[in-house]
Each structure stands twice: as C-alpha cells, then as structure tokens.
Amino acid sequence: MSVLVYTESEQGKFKKVAFEVASYAKAVANQLGTTVTAIAMNVSDTSQLAMYGVDKVLNVANSQLDNFNAKIYANIIKQAAEKESTKVVIIGSSANSKYLAPLLAVELNAGFASNVIEVPSNVSPFTVKRTAFTNKAFEFVQITTDVKIVGVSNNSFGLVESSGSATAETFSPVLAESGMKIESVDKVAGKVSIADAEIVVSAGRGLKGPENWGMIEELASVLGAATACSKPVSDLGWRPHGEHVGQTGKPVAANLYIAIGISGAIQHLAGINASKVKVVINSDPEAPFFKAADYGVVGDAFVVVPQLIEKLKAFKAQQ
C-alpha cells in the first residue's frame, strides 16, 4: 500500500527533482498513514533518498536502461506498483516523466493529474490542485480511480528533509519491447536545462541580434542559471527552439525568472508565470512585463546587464 515515487536519475546519480518528488511522496504517505517506496534506475548510491523520507528503494540495475525509454520505464514502474500494491504513484514534471505518465496511466488503469502544485487537499475523495489554462488558473481535480498518478510541478513543493533510513532492494523487472531505438543524443554537457533550473535568465527581441547574447550567457553562468528566450527570438533563429519559453514553448517554473528586453505579451507571461520571483529589465516603463514582475529596472539592457553581472560577481565572491 506504500506510496510509490519514481526518482529520476542521470548517469547513475539522482536529479534534484528526485528529492523534491520524494519529499512530496512522504507528505502524501503521512496523509495516508503509509510508507514511501522509491523506484530508481541504475543509481549507484540510493542512500540519499532516506533524507527525504523514503523507506524503501527498489533499485533496478540493468545497462539496457542507461538510455531512457518511456515504454520500458512505464512498464517497470507498473511492475513496481503491482509488487508494492501501490495506490498512489508520484512522478515529476520533466520531459521524460511527462512522456511516460500517460503510458503508465493506461497500464495501471490509473487516473493521472499533471502539473500538481500542492499536497492533496483531501485524500478521500483524492483531490489535488494543479495549474490549468497555462497558469491563468488553478484547477481542483478529483482522481476517482483505485490507483492514482500525481505529476508534481517542478519547484512547487521544494525539498523537505526528514530523518530515517531506507532499505535498498534489488528489483529485476522484465523489460518490455521498446519498439524504438535512439540513434543519437544532442545535448550540451554541463549546461543547466530550463526544466532543471532554479534560475532562468531569458531575453527577447530587445537584445537586437544574436551577437548580443554573450552578456546573457555570462549573467546565466554567474547565477548558475539556464538561458531562455521569447518566441520571436527563436523564430528569427537568434537562439535555438529549445530555448523558447511561453505558452507555445517550454513552461518555466523557476524560483527566479529574469526577463531582459521582453515586452511581456500574454502568451509569454502565461508560460513563465509559475515562476516564484520575476525580475524585468526593460527600457520601456510601459512594457506590460512590469505589471507581472516583482522587481524591475527601467533601463537599457546594454547598460544594466553588464553592471548587474559585476554586482553579482562581487556578491558571489563574498558568499
């Protein structure tokens, strides 16, 4: 009956989101009066999970799982759920988790709620709060099936430490037919992705041209942030499509979102509004972004950003 949580990893190490979903699973387990079991793939050291409330870890070790495959992963989580007689499965909101979730839902005949931002407001009937209409509203959803899947929105719950220890168990599920082969992966090593980032530095058409992104990259690197851009910037080919954020681009739910030379169109704001703190730097005091932001600087980005980089470097040096 324990709550099952899928703890994502990359190259044998947990991603930060694994600890957030584990913390969330612990809170749900407390509500239900049960324990937390985590399922992990090829993680060399799973002991850290105990710090976030996990009681038992099912660690699957199989080199065929080094590359993510939604169908195989979903099927393994299903096998783990059945083994543990799980009623609630918790997953994250990464591209991979969102990819496997609907497949898992079909396999488990489970209702699925995505983009959930709080612990269930009620466990009977099981009710969660999620974002809808691209952050223009919140929706309360009851999951009515016997088994339930909750997709937790990034950075919405945070990390909650608890004490205890976790037992580790080797788990050797049968692997499903994947039906698919990865030909190549194109990923910049050492760069924070928008999904994983706590801070996102984003720039728009106000930057005038792709040659001016050096200062944006630098600001991001000082802050350990991911870089993003508005839609026209990616449409113009100034930046790759993967950086386009907003209603039709990637969603951003960072702790800090810094918008530079972005006007703040409704489609842009919708996609980034789940971010906790928003800063805008724009030369036009009438730019709509100022209505959506927490902090703002009215000024020319080419003046403000280099200075801000220096101030932040000095601040970081003191820390």
């Binding site: 990819y99 497949l103 809808a132 009851q142 009515t144 681009g249 409704i266 703190v277 200075q307």
Partner: protein, 248 residues
C-alpha cells in the same frame, strides 16, 4: 499513409479566462476559439506528408457542435475529411478513449496530436491513445519523417534533443519545431470554399468512464505592484533578491 490529426478546440491565446457556475466550469462566453497551437504545427506537418507523399489526412475532435468551425478551419487549411465525436469531453482519459476508438475504426497509420492542449494542459491524450491502441509513441516531437513503415523522429529532451528510429503505427505529441512558424498556413478563400464541400462526419461516442473530475477553479491572486530599482542602484536589486526574495 493514413494520418489522423487530433484537433483540440481551445480559447485563443490572448483570452481572459473566466469561470461560471460557482467557479466549477470554464465560461466560454465571449471567448474566441482556435485550433490548439501544438495541433496546428502537427496539421501543417501532415499537409507536407499529403503533398509530398500522397498521404490522406483526416482531422478529428471530440466535442459538441460548437467545435465544428475549428474543424472547418482545419479542412480549409487542407485536411481531406473531418470527424467529430459527438460528446462534450470530461477528462483526458475519456477523450483518449474516444480517439483510440476512431483510430481503430479507421485503421490510421500515424496519429498526430499536440503535446498538450493550452486549455487544461493535461498532456496525456497522445500517450494514452498510444497505450490504448498499442502504437509506438513519441512525445515532444520536433521532427518527423516517414519512409514506408519506418520512422525517423526527433524528440526534444530537457537540455537538448534525441533522434529516434521507430515504425508505424505511431502516435506523436507534436509541438513547434515539427514545422517552422513561417510554415503555418492561413486558410485562403479557395480553401474555405473547398472546406464546405468536404465531409465532416459526426460519430456517436463509445461508452467510457472519466478517471478524473474537475471540481473547482481558482484564479491566481492579484499581483502586488512591482518594486522598481533605479539604474544606478543595482546593489539594491542584488540585496532584494538575496534578503527579501531569498532566491540567490
């Protein structure tokens, strides 16, 4: 190749969102509806398969009579035929179940859906169709080529992309990148005229159950005023972010 493009009928991206019946229901009053942007990228890619490879393209929507103008627009863009499953959708699963049934009945090789609808943002319909019809599935699809039965596709991953090979039958969750923004088509007069002659078949729903129930909506609390920091006092901004907001 028989292609089915799933079309979600959603509020225009600039719409103000309101709720009715004691905040239990989306209020469609005064709202302009459009083809879900992610689906429009998929439909445009389907047009390429039609024009270059002779594919037939059917569009489908699960919804009431009010969604027909959106399907007609898809026909005007160039789809060959349209199907409307005559039921008002209740949740992602029941929509997927209806669509899976259309897929099985029509024997489609390729199902193109959008990675999510911009209304409820469930992000589950494409994957569930794949699960229910036993097809291969690629989400966040930003590149798609089909040669006979073999498929080469590009999937956006966090921080990059991966190239995959697979085979039909296939379901994708598409998005921008599948085609460029500049490839999107605005229906012209001829397309609109022709769309009137094309078949829009209404089919009755299969029995299905909802797995989730939407009970209540809330709007975000109004935002406090922005704190402006002057250009020559950027130390203050660093301080605010560190001490007040605690984000750096």
């Amino acid at each position: 190749m028989k292609i089915l493009v799933c079309i979600s009928h959603v509020p225009d991206t600039t719409s103000k969102i309101n709720f009715a019946n004691d905040n239990s229901k989306f209020d469609a009053n005064g709202v302009q509806f459009v083809i879900n942007p992610n689906d429009e990228f998929g439909l445009t890619r389907a047009m390429w398969f039609k024009e270059k490879q002779g594919a037939t393209v059917t569009v489908v929507n699960v919804g009431g009579l009010e969604t027909e103008p959106t399907l007609r627009k898809a026909l005007a863009i160039g789809a060959d035929a349209a199907i409307r499953v005559n039921t008002v959708p209740t949740d992602g699963f029941s929509v997927a179940k209806q669509l899976a049934n259309v897929v099985k009945d029509g024997g489609y090789d390729l199902v193109i859906a959008g990675r999510e609808s911009i209304d409820y943002n469930g992000g589950m319909v494409p994957g569930m169709i794949a699960g229910l019809t036993n097809a291969n599935f690629i989400n966040n699809c930003i590149g798609l080529e089909v040669e006979g039965n073999s498929v080469k596709a590009i999937r956006e991953i966090d921080g990059g992309k991966e190239t995959l090979s697979t085979s039909l039958p296939l379901v994708i969750g598409g998005q921008k990148g599948l085609v460029e923004e500049s490839d999107l088509r605005i229906p012209n007069m001829r397309g609109i005229m022709m769309a009137r002659q094309k078949a829009l078949t209404v089919v009755e729903p299969v029995a299905t159950n909802a797995e989730t129930i939407s009970t209540k909506f809330e709007k975000p609390a109004p935002k406090g005023a922005v704190k402006l920091v002057s250009l020559d006092n950027l130390d203050e901004l660093v301080n605010l972010l560190h001490i007040e907001a605690k984000v750096i």
